[in-house]
Amino acid sequence: MSGPTAEPRPGRFGAFGGRYVPEALVAALEELEEAWHEAMADPDFVAELDRLQRDYTGRPNPLTEVPRFAEHAGGARVFLKREDLNHTGSHKINNVLGQALLTVRMGKTRVIAETGAGQHGVATATAAALLGLDCTVYMGEVDTRRQALNVARMRLLGAEVVPVATGSATLKDAINEAMRDWVTTVERTHYLLGTVTGPHPFPTMVRDFHAVIGREAREQLLERTGRLPDAVCACVGGGSNAMGIFHPFRDDEQVRLLGFEAGGDGVASGRHASRFSGGEPGVLHGAASYVLQDEDGQTLPTHSISAGLDYPSVGPEHAFLHDSGRATYAPVTDTEAMEAFALLSRTEGIIPAIESAHALAGAVRVGRELAEAAGGAFAADDPDRPVILVNLSGRGDKDVDTAARWFGLVDGEDLVEAEALKAAEPVAEAEGSGW
C-alpha cells in the first residue's frame, strides 16, 4: 500500500503550496522548473551532482549508533544520520550543490540566498566559490550577531553578507529582502532558496535534492539492523532536513515520522516558532502553509534559541503531512533542546547544532514514551528494542558561543558544575518528564 497522494497537481500538496508571488517572478519560476526537470533527466547533470556529493561533500556520510546517549532514551536503539559531517557542516550543501549547478546550466552568473543560522549561507557561499558565481547572502541583523562565526565564514568565502534590519530582523525578513533583490535582478540572478518553503518548484525541488539523506539512511539502517526504524526524528524550521529524511520513508507506514519545532520559551508563553501548535493556514513567502499570524493575518514575531528554526511558516508539504496525519509535529523548548545538546556532547563526544538538538530531544522523549508503554526501560540485550533514527542535520561549532552563555561557561566554569549535568541522569533516575 502506498501513502497518501501528496501532489494532486504540480506544486500543490493538498490545500498547501502553490505560487503566491509577484507576476514579475513567474517567468523565472517557470524557467527554473523547466531547467530542473531537464537537468534531472540529463545523465551528465546527475553524474556531476553525484560526483560532487561524493568527492566534495563526502557522501555517503555515516550512520552512527549512539548507545550511551540512548540510555537516556528509554534504552531504545538510537542512530544518527551524520549530516553534520558533510562539507560545510550541515545538510544544506545537498540542495545548494544541486541548485548551484542549475544556476550555471541556466546561464546565470549570480546567486542570492537567505540564511538564518548561517548554514545555508555558508553552503551557498561555498558552492559559489567552487563554481565561480557571484554571491550575496541576506541575513537578519539579529542573526548576524548570534551567528557571527558564520558571517565571517561567508565573507572568507567571498560572499557579500547583507544584514537585514527591517521587520523582526530575522530569517523571514532576510527572505523578504532576497525576494526584493531577485525581482530586480532576476535576469542574471538565481535565488538559491535554502529550504522546502517558497513558491513552486522550490518545495519539491529542494526536497528532492535532500532526499539523498533518507535514501542513504534507510539503506544503512536496513544493512545494520535488518529492519526499518520505528520512528524518524528531525527538527523542522522551514523543514528541508526533515523532508529529506522523511521522503524515502513516506510509504513505510509502520515508520512514524516525527518533526520537532522550536518551542522557544514554551508555546503558552507566545515566544516560540511552533507553527502546528500556534499557527493556522495562511500564505507567506509564496506558499500556502501553516503560518504564525495574528487575527488580521499579520505575521507574528517568533522566538527560538536556534536561528535556523526561528521562522513563522513551514514547508507546505509538512502542512500536508500534518493534516493527513502521516507525520506528527511537536514543540521542543529551548531548555529541552539545550539539555539534549549537552547530553549528546557529554555521552558521545558529538556537539550537535542547536537546531538538530531539537530532534535529539524529541528522540529522547519518544524513546522514554516507548519504554513507559512497554513497562520500563528496554534492556541492552533485548533484540526487539525499538529503533529511532535521528537526522543530525548539522554540527554545533557555530553554536559554541551561544551554548557557553547558556550553560554559564563564559567565566571558565566547568560544564560539570553547570545545570546541564541534570540532563545526563539516566532515565531510571530521572524525575518527571522534563523531555
Binding site: 509577484p22 523565472a28 527572505i175 505575521t299
Partner: protein
C-alpha cells in the same frame, strides 16, 4: 459599468490619462491617513489606492515598507481600511484597495469583498496574487461587483499577458520595470514597450506604476498609458510634511502632468 470603467472613459473623453495615487492606511496614524486620502482626491487623483499595511511586503521598496511598519506599530487594524475607502468615495475619487493576499485570506475573501463593496470600493489590486491562484478572490469579487486588478511585468510572456489581462477588470496594473516600489530618476523605455505588448492582447485601460515621482515623469508616461500610478513619492510627501500641504502640492503637480 463599473466605477473604474467610468473614470477611465471620462479621462479618455478629456483627452488625458488618469492619476492613480497610492497611500497606505494608518500611516503615519489613522487620522492623518484619513485626511491624506481626502487631500489626494481633492488635489486631483482620479483613483486612490488604499494600501493595506502588511508585515512582509516583498514587492515594496524602503519608503512603503517603512510606512507599513509604522502603521502596524501604530496599531493599524484591517477593518480600518474600509474607513479610508469611504473617505475616498466621499471626497469624490474612486477607491480601490491594494493588499497582499494573506490579510485578505485570513479575513475571508468573501467577507472582505462584501465589506469592501459596502464601503464603496471599486476593486482590489493584488501584488502577490496571480490569477492562477486567485479562484477564491475572483469568485468573491464577481459576487460583489468588484474589479480584480492583477499586475503584468516586463518578464511576463505573451501567453501570461493574455491570461492575466483576461482575469482583470477595471484596469491592468503595468509594472514599468523589474523591481520593487520606489521612485526612480527615469521610468525608462521598458514601460512603453510593455504597454505596447499589453495593448496587443487587451482593450482594458493600462495604468503604469513603479517609479513615477513628479509631473514631468507623469506627463511622459501619460503619453502612452491610460493611467499613471504614483506611490512612494506621495508616501514621502506625507512623511516629510504632516500638514499635508506637501502632499497637496505633489499631487497637483502630478495632476497637471497627466493633463499635459
Amino acid at each position: 459599468m463599473s466605477a473604474l470603467s467610468e473614470v477611465f472613459d471620462r479621462c479618455r473623453a478629456e483627452g488625458r490619462a488618469a492619476l492613480v495615487g497610492y497611500l497606505p492606511a494608518g500611516f503615519p496614524d489613522l487620522e492623518t491617513s484619513l485626511a491624506a486620502v481626502r487631500v489626494l482626491a481633492e488635489a486631483g487623483a482620479d483613483v486612490v489606492e488604499v494600501g493595506v499595511p502588511y508585515t512582509d511586503p516583498l514587492m515594496d521598496g524602503p519608503v512603503i515598507e517603512r510606512a507599513a511598519s509604522r502603521a502596524l506599530a501604530g496599531g493599524f487594524r484591517l477593518p480600518q481600511v474600509f474607513d479610508l475607502v469611504r473617505a475616498v468615495r466621499e471626497a469624490g475619487a474612486v477607491p480601490v484597495v491594494m493588499s497582499y493576499w494573506n490579510p485578505v485570506l485570513h479575513y475571508g475573501p468573501e467577507r472582505f469583498a462584501a465589506d469592501l463593496a459596502a464601503a464603496g470600493g471599486a476593486g482590489m489590486i493584488t501584488p502577490d496574487l496571480v490569477p492562477d491562484e486567485a479562484d477564491a478572490w475572483l469568485e468573491a469579487a464577481r459576487a460583489h461587483d468588484l474589479d480584480p486588478v492583477f499586475l503584468v511585468a516586463p518578464s511576463s510572456t505573451d501567453a501570461r499577458l493574455r491570461s492575466t489581462t483576461q482575469a482583470c477588470r477595471g484596469f491592468v496594473y503595468v509594472a514599468s520595470t523589474m523591481g520593487v516600489t520606489g521612485t526612480r530618476t527615469t521610468v525608462g523605455g521598458s514601460a512603453a514597450t510593455l504597454v505596447e505588448r499589453v495593448r496587443a492582447v487587451t482593450d482594458l485601460p493600462l495604468c503604469v506604476g513603479l517609479g513615477v515621482s513628479d509631473g514631468a515623469q507623469a506627463a511622459e508616461v501619460a503619453a502612452f498609458a491610460d493611467g499613471v500610478i504614483v506611490g512612494s513619492a506621495l508616501v514621502r510627501a506625507v512623511d516629510e510634511d504632516p500638514t499635508l500641504e506637501g502632499l497637496r502640492a505633489v499631487t497637483a503637480d502630478l495632476a497637471a502632468g497627466v493633463r499635459r
